[in-house]
């Protein structure tokens, strides 16, 4: 492990510890039974199989959006449309599931494929706007998320809605379209395996392929990449299309793995959370499942805590926020790093002196 990696690991760990510390202090301030609350938050998710299952179920969508965002951020394309791509992926999967009858072994996968393709098409919009009009992708992708939401609402209301259902919901998804559950007693579905396969795939793509190399160089220094003859337009397009594809797939998998009907009438937030996941994993796909698991764990922990004590689950937002601020704050621990570097340099000087 070189000095930089070591420093990053230390920094991330300390950030997480400080953030948890702050959250615990707040719990002590507001709660009648702080120790019980903290205990529930930390040990709750592993107290029962079903609860741990919830953690994994929440990890799966975070892995998909996290991978999508990691690839786009690696190219320094701050496309925030993974939220919309995820949502639209869900509605597309619902459309395929309800309207294209197929045998069970292929049905969900066709639906997921379509979800991915439409997700890719969706994140392609900010990319092509950037290339053709130099529109900043942050702004356009942010706005597009609402278009995704209301487009999905439209499809749901006019084409999928079951008038017999008590609330706004589609007709029930056929059994042939559902993803198989893989662990009894939980809702963990085959999406977990797909997520891990895509993690490996995204890593190989980003770190072993020619295209991945181009994406990373352009993301680190666009001028240098252009000067080296790398096609920047291609990087902008491909990174965002692939990012949207994976996020869209995630939406489809989420729907077919956990839902009986399509009921999403608000954005679910997995695309936003993906920014936390990508930041924690430094845009490296290999770390995405770990970060996603961590985030899911504290979320479920906070939920359990709020059910059995007087602390609200929103406390976890404070934890998340603090972690992100500490990780992106460049000066945090910069002095410590400088001391580490200075010490090394000084010992080199001293060693030379002895010779």
């Amino acid at each position: 492990m070189n000095r930089d990696t070591k420093f990053n690991v230390i920094r991330t760990t300390i950030s997480i510890l400080i953030a948890l510390g702050i959250s615990f202090v707040i719990i002590f301030l507001i709660s009648e039974e702080p120790l019980e609350a903290i205990k529930q938050m930390i040990t709750g998710p592993i107290s029962r199989k079903r609860l741990f299952g919830n953690v994994i179920e929440l990890t799966i969508p975070l892995i998909f959006t996290g991978l999508g965002v990691s690839i786009m951020f690696s190219a320094m394309q701050i496309n925030l449309a993974s939220e919309g791509a995820f949502h639209i992926g869900g509605v597309v999967a619902a459309v395929v599931a309800l309207n294209l009858p197929m045998p069970g072994f292929i049905h969900p996968y066709v639906a997921i494929l379509f979800a991915g393709l439409v997700g890719a098409l969706f994140t392609f919009i900010p990319a092509i706007l950037k290339i053709k009009t130099t529109a900043n992708e942050i702004v356009s992708s942010l706005m597009l998320n609402y278009i995704a939401l209301f487009f999905a609402n439209y499809i749901l209301n006019y084409y999928l809605r079951d008038p017999g259902a008590g609330s706004v919901a589609s007709f029930p998804l056929p059994a042939s379209s559902k993803l198989t559950s893989i662990i009894s007693g939980t809702n963990i579905h085959i999406g977990l395996i797909i997520a891990l396969l895509f993690t490996a795939g995204a890593y190989i793509f980003l770190y072993k392929s020619k295209m991945g190399y181009m994406i990373r160089v352009a993301g680190q220094n666009e001028d240098f990449a252009r000067f080296s003859g790398i096609d920047i337009l291609k990087v902008i397009l491909i990174s965002q299309i692939i990012g949207g594809f994976i996020a869209g797939m995630g939406g489809g998998i989420q729907l077919l793995g956990l839902y009986r009907r399509f009921t999403w009438t608000a954005l679910l937030g997995y695309g936003w959370d993906a920014i936390i996941v990508a930041t924690l994993s430094k845009n490296n796909p290999l770390y995405v499942p770990i970060s996603a698991f961590f985030l899911a764990y504290i979320r479920i922990g906070a939920d359990i805590m709020s059910r059995s004590t007087d602390v609200t689950p929103e406390i976890v937002s404070i934890t998340q926020g603090t972690i992100i601020i500490l990780i992106v704050a460049k000066q945090f621990l910069a002095k410590y790093k400088h001391k580490m570097v200075a010490k090394e340099a000084k010992s080199n000087i001293d060693a030379e002196g002895v010779e």
């Binding site: 160089v217 680190q220 240098f224 790398i230 570097v341």
Partner: protein
Amino acid sequence: MSEMILEMKNILKIYPNGIVANEHVNFSVKKGEIHALLGENGAGKSTLMKVLFGIERQEEGEIYHKGEKIEINSPHEAIARNIGMVHQHFMLVPSLTVAENIILGVEPKKNKIFTDMDEAVRISKDIAQQYNFDIDVTAKIEDIPVGTKQQVEILKALYRGADILILDEPTAVLTPQETKELFEQLRKLKDKGHTIIFISHKLDEIKAICDRLTIMRNGKSKGTYETKDTSTEEMSRLMVGRDVFLTFDKEKSQPKETVLKVRNLCHINAVGTKKLNKVSFDLKTGEILGIAGVEGNGQSELFSVLTGLIDSYSGSVKILDKEAKEMKIKDIRDLGVSYIPEDRMIYGCAEDMDILHNLISDKFDKEEFSSKYMLKKKDIEKYASKMIEDYNIKAGSYKQNVSMLSGGNIQKVVVAREFSAKPTIILANQPTRGIDVGAAEFIRKKLIELSREENCAVLLISADLNEVFELSDRLAVMYKGEFSGSFTDVKNVTEEELGKYMLGVEKDEELEGITYE
């Protein structure tokens, strides 16, 4: 003790990337002297002065001002101690006037709220007159010549009450004539009792103007000497660490086929300034064409046109008989053109990636290093190891991030990548700027080797006169976007002569030998 106005003791400064810029340096200045801080680029002169001026904080060591131990944590505190600094790169607002720049931050006030511009002009005129600077204080900075900008910087420091003045390589951007003028003014400042610290690596200038000198090499002080007792030979020996001044034995060039043909090249930049005006020249394989000139006279734009970064130009640029405008950067590279960019941190590398990734940015898609979709890890690693060895890059391994290397080693990474691409044409823009002498010499040798043994065509753009003289087979001078002179017999050109063309005092309309027609 008491005659020393300023003393720095045992200064240790280590940069965040681990580079030891000052290794227990001692430095002291007498009141009323001009004291030279002498050393090659990267020796740690600027860093020492940044510590003194409060821009950088030392790890260890003390600073004494008039015998009193002081802490300087910011330029504000330095200015409060009457220390002023003129930076190598001017810190002026181009769209404001001279007077506005001088008073910026310490404005005279009208009714305690508004800046009193009349007063500002009066103050500026006064101070200029007091120190015999002939400046129109109502002119805008962007309209005045470099030499005058520097005078404004000096006035700025004086207005803030500086009696110790640090000048960081003040002559680097000046023509010989402007340098003379500057020296006159510095002598007058000295007569008025000011103390001047003069950072430079030009020996004759130090001989001409400084009373004492401190030599730095590799982050260490090599002692302080009286200028009159020290010969330039001795200075250079202490500075470079060897007795020889570098001159290269290069064989006579044997130009072969023309690979670069530029005719009537004109370029107007985005704000409407004419940056290139009717530039024409030829470059053949097997020769080195040097382009000298004060920076900012169109060299960067010329380089950008040739590399494909700029495609808005008139005239014709034929690279191996193909028009540059019709090609993408990639196409030009594929013709066998390699580049050393002027700013290595922007165009030369991705500093947060490792050496290996920086070495293959132009060739990762070649058959040697990748299949249809995937990179060939083993082959790339083998190549990276070879480059580190061949180009003597001082690094732990190719997995080290480029940001952890010294300037000279970063430049070696750039050069290794570009030279190993088997180029037909090499376009080098300030290839050795700001790097240590060893690395610079290495790169210069390589350029000669490539032109003589590998039959490369080399275009060398450089503001370093020594470099242009040493390497060029033919030489052109750029001034205000045009060639103002050309020489085919480089050995018999003097610096004085070149200076005149650089300044635009003389202009050669014939430009003999610049093309092969």
